[in-house]
């Protein structure tokens, strides 16, 4: 698979028109101006394959699965194929010394230019001995690979925020990529697993503009992580109307009402699931009847239980009624006192004459 991307796509039966449409969609998803779609298409079509090194650390391979196997075959998958993936343990044919040599060769050949993708957290306890590849600790490999990278993409919640390995009591001393690497641009694409289109979106942006997309304060691309699940949830109208499912098999659940009381973390989770959906746009957690776990937020595993509601109101009616009675009583009392005072002031008024202007 050599040559420009568009040729490869054409060989696989993707027309230029389909590709353009895809790029325009991608651009609009990333909240870029419409013209950016065309620019993106041109840049990506002509792009030579950028070298990508993918380092898997303390992880479950779910992120890789998400991108390579979640749905077949899509443009995301193909663009993913189009990059020169020079090292990816799970996918590469090579093994053992050959694999390590490939990594060294790729780092040397493309020094300063390759994109480094990391999935999985990095254990620091016991000198990093909890996770080693080819006899070297993850932290050592990461530092070496990061040194020559143009930018780093932290794929998945583990690489971005430490994820499940970091969950209390964090036996391996797991940390995120940004805890270790401070001198390279890092894009966090959290999610357990992350959404494939976010990955291709960041890649497309990088290829088109030669820079990383705009990031939020947690290092996530704003285009995809700018709004909460709750803000874009199709069940939001039920929340606004106060219609909640109380259990997973009650009338409310069957009517598709809001899952807030069943512990949905949508209101505090920034991700694009509600708009992009999963499995080629088939569905997403809330649509399938389960609340959001908040998997793209830091420390989601320790956020107090997946089925515990974010907040529980005090009995508002009872409390409100009592407050109203007390408030009304106090109001009436103050009003009577104030009226009496004002009446007294009026009674005490002596008509002012000129002489009264002097002290």
């Amino acid at each position: 698979m050599q040559g420009p991307l568009i040729d490869t796509l054409a060989r696989q039966g993707i027309t230029r028109r389909t590709f353009l449409k895809y790029c325009t969609t991608l651009a609009s998803m990333m909240a870029l101006p419409p013209a950016a779609g065309l620019a993106m298409a041109e840049a990506m079509a002509a792009a030579r394959r950028p070298s990508v090194i993918w380092l898997p650390f303390q992880e479950c391979t779910g992120c890789t699965e998400s991108i390579t196997r979640s749905h077949s075959p899509t443009l995301e998958g193909m663009i993913f194929d189009m990059i020169s993936l020079d090292y990816q343990e799970t996918l590469m044919a090579a093994a053992g010394h050959q694999a390590e040599e490939a990594l060294q060769a790729a780092m040397k050949e493309n020094a300063g230019k390759y994109l480094l993708i990391v999935d999985g957290s990095i254990p620091l306890d016991m000198d990093g001995a909890y996770s080693c590849i080819g006899g070297r600790s993850n932290v050592e490999i990461l530092k070496e690979a990061a040194a020559g990278a143009a930018a780093i993409v932290a794929m998945g919640s583990c690489a971005a925020f430490g994820g499940i390995p970091k969950a209390n009591p964090n036996p391996t001393g797991a940390v995120s990529v940004s805890d270790i690497i401070k001198d390279k641009p890092i894009v966090n694409i959290p999610g357990c697993p992350p959404i494939p289109v976010v990955m291709t979106g960041v890649l497309a942006h990088y290829l088109t503009f030669g820079s990383l997309p705009e990031l939020d304060d947690k290092g996530r691309p704003k285009a995809f992580f700018g709004e909460t699940i709750h803000d874009r949830c199709y069940r939001r109208p039920f929340y606004d109307q106060g219609k909640f499912a109380k259990t997973f098999d009650d009338e409310g659940a069957r009517m598709g009402w809001c899952l807030f009381e069943l512990g949905c973390k949508g209101p505090v989770t920034y991700n694009a699931c509600a708009t992009v959906k999963w499995n080629g746009g088939t569905s997403w957690p809330v649509e399938s009847g389960h609340g959001c776990l908040g998997c793209s937020e830091p420390d989601f595993w320790d956020a107090g239980g997946f089925y515990k509601a974010l907040s529980v109101p005090a009995d508002p009616l009872e409390f409100g009624a009592a407050a109203a009675v007390v408030g009304a009583g106090a109001g009436v009392a103050v009003s009577f006192a104030n009226r009496a005072k004002k009446r007294a002031a009026k009674a005490a008024h002596q008509t002012t004459t000129l002489a009264d202007l002097e002290k």
């Binding site: 004002k342 008024h349 002012t352 009264d356 202007l357 002097e358 002290k359």
Partner: protein, 420 residues
């Protein structure tokens, strides 16, 4: 000789009403009123923030009428208002507030700040913290008849001269006239042309009018000083005269706060509706213009701008009359940016022009810079207004800065160019 702190506080307790309670509770301390006040914009001193000028009133409200305030007073967190404090506030509430009402216009929560200043002055007057200048004006109005100490013979003299100049009869104490014409002392002394202009216009329009020998003065120093009892005495003279002469309308002169005193405060002061209408001279002129009575024989050629007096336009509600009138008589009228209800005050309204201490006069000259800028930005050497007090204050400002600006009264300007 009986003004005291106790009386002042009692007056404040008396004037605090539901609007004031809601205003103090609604204030979000945004400070927008500061930028609406010329005393702040021209000095940059935050003590001139309009709502701050009401601090003693706010404390009395809080301490007397709120639960929390009472508690704070008991435990000593909120200090009672003292005589010294009111003395300090005197310059804030008289020298540096012209009651122009621009602050009330900008308040985002709708607080009528100038309404509160008017009420606060009741307490200041009752506690004896009133500038001598306004006190003197009030004394002269009550004892002699007008703030400048004018008596009827002086007015009779002006009437005779106007009759000679115009060749028209100017009736006095004529029963059943359409209009009872009021004057302000400022017009009698400084701008006697006003009466001549009116006589010409009335004769042209065929409207009957009269002056009243026992109520010629329209201004009301009681309003400026902030004492309703005295203001009532002064306004009653006009009401009594108008009702005795059975006139249909009372014509308020150009003077700004005179109109405010008769038209808006008057019925509240005497506690009943009037049996006559109060009309501002510009309202009448605009009506005559629409009827086609005001025909011009010539026009004023030089470029000019208009100064809208606060009490007539922003606070009085005579918003639209002046512009078409000036366009009728001037070829080259230049509308300024802050006009009509947004116009900047002359700096001497609300009694401020009667205060002649060095500090007050220096401050007045300083804040005149806002008008100076307006004149300079428009690049004109003529400014027309329709309030005798604005005119005299601005003439002082023009002299102070040695500008070559000429000030004209609108009614006069119209009369000068009126078809014979």
């Amino acid at each position: 000789m009986s003004a005291s702190l106790e009386k002042g506080i009692n007056a404040l307790k008396q004037v605090i009403d539901a609007p004031i309670a809601s205003y103090f509770n609604s204030c979000v301390h945004c400070g927008l009123c500061a930028d609406a006040c010329l005393f702040y914009t021209e000095t940059g001193d935050p003590k001139y923030t309009p709502i701050h000028k009401l601090e003693p009133l706010r404390r009395v409200y809080e301490q007397e009428y709120t639960l929390l305030g009472r508690l704070k007073k008991v435990v000593g967190l909120s200090k009672p208002v003292t005589d010294d404090e009111l003395d300090q506030w005197q310059s804030l509430v008289y020298d540096s507030c012209t009651m122009c009402g621009r602050c009330s216009m900008v308040c985002p929560v709708g607080n009528d700040i100038v309404y509160m200043v008017r009420k606060f002055r009741e307490g200041m007057a009752a506690s004896g913290h009133v500038p001598d200048g306004i006190k003197g004006a009030t004394q002269r109005t009550v004892e002699i008849g007008g703030p400048m100490g004018l008596k009827w013979p002086a007015v009779a003299n002006v009437i005779r001269k106007a009759e000679e100049a115009t060749g028209l009869a100017i009736p006095v104490d004529k029963e059943g006239a359409d209009y009872l014409v009021l004057l302000s002392s400022m017009e009698i002394v400084n701008f006697p042309e006003y009466l001549e202009a009116l006589a010409k216009i009335f004769s042209k329009a065929g409207i009957s009018f009269t002056l009243a020998s026992d109520a010629f003065e329209a201004t009301n120093a009681g309003i400026q000083i902030g004492n309703s009892d005295i203001a009532k005495v002064i306004v009653s003279r006009i009401v009594d005269a108008a009702e005795k002469l059975k006139v249909k309308n009372v014509l308020s002169p150009e003077c700004g706060h005179a109109y405010m005193a008769i038209r808006w405060e008057g019925p509240n002061l005497i506690g009943r509706p009037f049996t006559f209408n109060v009309v501002h001279v510009l309202e009448l002129l605009d009506e005559l213009r629409l009827k086609g009575v005001l025909k011009m024989k010539s026009t004023f050629k030089e470029p000019l701008i208009l100064h809208d007096p606060c009490q007539i336009v922003r606070r009085g509600g005579v918003l639209q009359a002046a512009e078409p009138l000036i366009q009728q008589v001037a070829d080259n009228y230049i509308p300024i940016v802050d006009k009509q209800k947004w116009n900047w005050c002359c700096g001497g309204g609300g009694g401020a022009s009667a205060i002649h201490t060095d500090e007050a006069e220096a401050l007045r000259a300083k804040v005149f810079q806002v008008k100076k800028r307006q004149i300079e930005e428009a690049g004109v050497s003529t400014m027309v207004t329709f309030c005798a007090n604005c005119r005299i204050v601005m003439e002082e400002g023009v002299d102070h800065y040695e500008m070559d600006t000429k000030l004209l009264g609108l009614t006069e300007l119209l009369a000068e160019h009126l078809e014979d």
